[in-house]
């Protein structure tokens, strides 16, 4: 049986978003942590001034926490999608999208945590 496309467009959109959000969030976490941290430190060093390390560290961690929350939220949505698909005896497509979203959310959340702890345990701008 072909899966019904978008019986309810909203839940379709949510299911797709739950798959797309975790990878995008991880890329943002890595990219922004790197850019904020590395570029800010370097800019101060090039200008021959002391960098505000506490501020930079906090900014990086805050950013990562926000992205982590987004990723986990995507995971919850994905989990509900998959539950609904299996409970309703319904569409294998949505069951799959739900599971995929859940795995991605867990994987990328772990990745974001590993990025976020760095400024906490290592010296910023060393």
């Amino acid at each position: 049986m072909a899966a019904p496309e978008a019986t309810r467009p909203r839940s379709t959109r949510l299911a797709v978003a739950a798959v797309l959000v975790p990878p995008v969030a991880w890329v943002c976490a890595l990219g922004l942590s790197y850019v904020v941290q590395d570029f800010a430190c370097t800019a101060y060093a090039s200008a021959g001034r002391n960098p505000p390390t506490a501020l930079i560290g906090t900014a990086v961690v805050t950013l990562d926490v926000v992205l982590l929350v987004l990723t986990l939220a995507a995971g919850v949505v994905a989990w509900r999608t998959s539950r609904r698909a299996t409970a309703g005896g319904g569409s294998p497509l949505f069951g799959f999208l739900g599971r995929l979203g859940l795995f991605l959310s867990l994987g990328f959340a772990a990745g974001i945590v590993m990025i976020a702890v760095n400024p906490l345990v290592l010296e910023v701008c060393a």
């Binding site: 072909a2 496309e5 200008a47």
Partner: protein, 842 residues
């Protein structure tokens, strides 16, 4: 599974259908075919020729290194050989081979009749071939690149490298252009051209993989293309991107190169792994275990590989926090690869494995890859890397990963799909012998290198001291290399020999599960007379279920349409029937266009204005002729009628391939300009003063350009909404299309003039400082983007003037609006980089 047997179309209809898909004959066969199977075959054959050339270079190096203090090769020749070997293997063999495999297999696996933009596909192949020829012309003119496959600045910069480097850069640029084009093709075929019913959860792993790989190519190869351009500018018009004296930084090259270079490894490994995910289930007669886990692992690997480039720069003195961000990502990737390994082992375990030749190569892969992964984890830990960096340990590691992760799977895949490609079975006995030769030879070559590395042998040296005590290890490596080479030559003999003497295979010799095995072996030009309907993940193993909606589409396309080449276009998530996508027929123009680009490269290398001028004429002429032929053919016959009375031939928006192409081009442009902007930001934070003089500061010109672009978008968008969604529109709508196209062209031309005027008006000197060089680069990028937008708008104009199918200009205007929107983003990023970024000072 429904195939051709059922009664349906008459003999006469079948004949006309075959006629529509007929391959060109005679001399035309050489330059004109565009069908995905001929293009794919050409890619694969060319790539293997390059593979053997690169292998020959490796053997020469091994001969030199067999004993300490030999001088079979001079140091200079050795440098040239490892540079050409690395470059050939990475750029001319691995990636193009996989693009070719994808071009051949994807439409077959997905149940389509061709790639979405068949002519563009061919164009990419020619670019790649000509790029390779340019690179190898260096041997003819006696100026062989010698700066290593990653061409570090300043070694590759204007001071130290001669024209050889320009040859390298131009050859590579063409190959990269081809890869980016191939990526757009792959994304569209996978997302929108699957057989009815093949929802995402039923998609073959190979298709998932190529989708992710294509995304990686766009995000990773574009920065390399930008990097090569920056280097070329530094070398030839004295810009300052990599020159420390003038605000540049050689590290920028390393960043740009490895943003590409690390994902490149996964661009090779992931398709390799995907081949294994097809070979192992078929030859174990068991479905792949853990399909959703494997898909998730592929996505995680693809995405995370984008964030790993810095690990190649562990020893360049980056701050520890920066490094640890990237170490974290390295470790996560290992876990994802582990998931795939577990899935393969579980599949082997639950199935009934047969020791066929493809299976042997898969097992060889598993063994080698796991070993390479272990050394990879070692290299990925920053302290160990600092020690092993630039020794033979690293050479051993990356050959384990590249050969284990890519070459063995490719050989498995060749033996697996050879019957499909050729209709003949290769000899299992010879295949087994060649496997064992290759496997043993490979380990004998590269295992000892771990030890010689640990004992202190540096890489990239043409010889070593007898006192180092690595003579025996090196001799073993050399002997191994010859055994390995013998295995590969025997593989080639086995496969080529099967062309004549192999047993006939029939459509499905392995009892496999995916759609390519429904088609004839070798497949007919149109792949499928009747488009298959998919109701499960393993269409040939599952019991088919019935779905009238899907079957209606299949019936409508049963040996149809007959006046034009077309294939079903389906929805992204569920692959429900949507429309019919027209597919292009044989033509000469893509070859000419690619030839024009190569001629331009030759003109630049020879510094000949005449050649350059001629090349511009050729390029423009070829593209115009190409477009006119498109419009003429689309105007013909049946293409105005919906297929089967139901499926529109072309429809607006994402319902036809053109929209996807325009969106893809827009994304590529935005990635490109973002790379330039980031490069400038990188230079800015590393420079004590930025900019050195004035910043560009031409708000009125810049705003004018933006406004003109907004006008171009609005005009084409408005035009694309005039008239009914059918092939005959009232004259007012036609007039509106015409007016919209003209306005949009005009606005684009104004934008072009204003954008270009920024450079003289700004009074900057691109040789003075890297900021000024950056402004020149940004202005040029914007101008190029506008030119592309203009090109597409002019196509819409031509479409309006040349034919009566009124929906076509409408669609083209919409595509133009999409592309113009991308151009507007390019403009915004460029403006931010020239004027806003310099304001941020600490």
């Amino acid at each position: 599974m429904t195939t051709d047997q059922e009664t349906g179309p008459s003999a006469e209809q079948r004949a006309r259908f075959a006629q529509a898909w007929a391959r060109p004959r005679g001399l035309r066969r050489i330059l004109m075919p565009v069908q995905h199977k001929s293009v794919g075959t050409r890619y694969m054959v060319t790539a293997f020729v390059f593979f053997f050339v690169g292998g020959l270079q490796a053997l020469l190096m091994r001969v030199q290194l067999a004993q300490p203090e030999q001088d079979v090769l001079s140091p200079q020749t050795y440098n040239e050989l490892f540079t050409m070997h690395g470059t050939t293997m990475m750029f001319l063999f691995a990636v193009p081979f996989l693009e070719g495999l994808a071009a051949y297999l994807l439409p077959l696996m997905l149940g389509a009749r061709d790639m979405p933009f068949a002519r563009y596909n061919t164009f990419n192949y020619w670019c790649y071939l000509l790029g390779g020829i340019i690179l190898y012309s260096s041997f003819v003119v006696g100026m062989v690149p010698d700066a290593g496959w990653f061409a570090y600045v300043p070694l590759s910069g204007p001071e130290f490298a001669d024209k050889a480097m320009d040859i390298w850069l131009f050859g590579l640029a063409l190959a990269e252009l081809a890869a980016i084009g191939a990526a757009i093709e792959m994304i569209v075929v996978v997302l929108a051209m699957r057989a009815p019913g093949m929802s995402l959860d039923r998609m073959p792993i190979f298709a998932w993989t190529m989708l992710c790989v294509a995304a990686m190519i766009i995000l990773a190869f574009v920065p390399l293309l930008v990097g090569s351009l920056l280097l070329e500018l530094d070398r030839n018009i004295s810009t300052a991107f990599f020159d420390t004296e003038r605000g540049g930084d050689p590290l920028l090259w390393q960043h740009l190169f490895w943003i590409f270079g690390h994902p490149e490894v996964y661009v090779m490994f992931l398709p390799g792994a995907a081949i294994i995910s097809h070979v192992v289930p078929v030859h174990s007669r068991h479905r792949l275990v853990g399909y959703p886990f494997v898909v998730a692992a592929i996505v995680v690997t693809a995405i995370m590989s984008l964030g790993l480039w810095v690990h190649h720069m562990y020893t360049t003195g980056l701050p520890p926090v920066t490094l640890s961000f990237f170490t974290a990502a390295s470790m996560s990737i290992s876990v994802a690869s582990g998931v795939q390994v577990v899935a393969w082992i579980a599949t082997l375990w639950s199935g009934r494995p047969r020791l066929t030749v493809p299976m042997l190569f898969s097992l060889g892969f598993l063994f080698t890859f796991v070993a390479g992964g272990i050394t990879g984890v070692m290299v990925a830990s920053a302290p160990f890397d600092a020690q092993a960096h630039d020794t033979y340990f690293v050479v051993a590691h990356f050959h384990y990963v590249l050969i284990g992760g890519m070459l063995f799977p490719v050989l498995a895949g060749l033996f697996h799909w050879w019957p499909k490609f050729t209709g003949r079975m290769p000899s299992a006995r010879l295949g087994t012998v060649s496997f064992w030769l290759a496997f043993v030879g490979f380990h004998l070559t590269f295992f000892p290198m771990h030890l010689s590395g640990l004992w202190g042998m540096p890489r990239r040296v043409y010889t070593y001291d007898a006192g180092l005590g690595v003579g025996v290890l090196n001799l073993l490596s050399t002997i191994g290399a010859f055994i390995f080479a013998a295995g590969l030559v025997l593989t080639a003999i086995t496969l080529l020999g099967a062309l004549r003497r192999g047993e006939r295979s029939g459509p499905d010799p392995w009892g496999a599960d995916t759609l390519e095995w429904v088609a004839d072996s070798p497949p007919a030009s149109a792949n499928f007379g009747r488009i298959p309907v998919v109701t499960g993940r393993a269409p040939l193993w599952d019991r088919p279920s019935h779905d009238p909606k899907l079957e209606r589409m299949s019936a409508a396309f049963d040996h149809a349409p007959q006046n034009v080449r077309a294939t079903p276009f389906t929805t992204v998530l569920s692959a429900l029937p949507n429309t019919a996508a027209v597919q292009a027929g044989p033509t000469f123009w893509p070859f000419l266009a690619a030839g024009g680009l190569a001629l331009a490269a030759a003109g630049l290398l020879l510094e000949s204005g005449w050649v350059l001028g001629a090349s511009v004429l050729v390029i423009v002429g070829a593209f115009v002729a190409w477009e006119l032929q498109n419009e003429r053919e689309l105007g013909a016959g049946e293409s105005t009628e919906p297929v089967g009375g139901e499926y529109l031939v072309e429809a607006p928006g994402p319902l036809s391939p053109g929209w996807w192409g325009a969106a893809g081009a827009a994304v590529v442009l935005v990635v490109a300009v973002t790379t330039v902007a980031f490069s400038l930001l990188f230079l800015q934070v590393n420079a004590p003063v930025w900019p050195q003089g004035e910043s560009l500061g031409l708000p009125w010109l810049s705003a004018g350009t933006g406004l003109a672009l907004v006008l171009a978008i609005s005009a084409s968008w408005w035009g694309s909404r005039q008239g009914p969604l059918s092939h005959d529109a009232p004259p007012t709508a036609r007039g509106a299309h015409l007016a919209a196209a003209v306005t949009s062209t005009f606005a684009g031309a104004v934008a072009l003039v204003l954008a270009v005027a920024q450079w003289p008006a700004g009074g900057l000197d691109h040789t003075a400082h890297s900021y000024d060089s950056g402004v020149l680069m940004l202005v040029s990028t914007l101008a190029l983007a506008i030119l592309l937008g203009l090109g597409l708008t002019i196509c819409a104009l031509l479409a309006r003037l040349t034919h009566t199918r009124d929906i076509r200009p409408r669609i083209m205007l919409q595509n133009a609006a999409v592309l113009w929107t991308g151009v507007l983003v390019v403009w915004a990023v460029a403006w931010a980089a020239t004027d806003l970024m310099p304001l941020a000072v600490v």
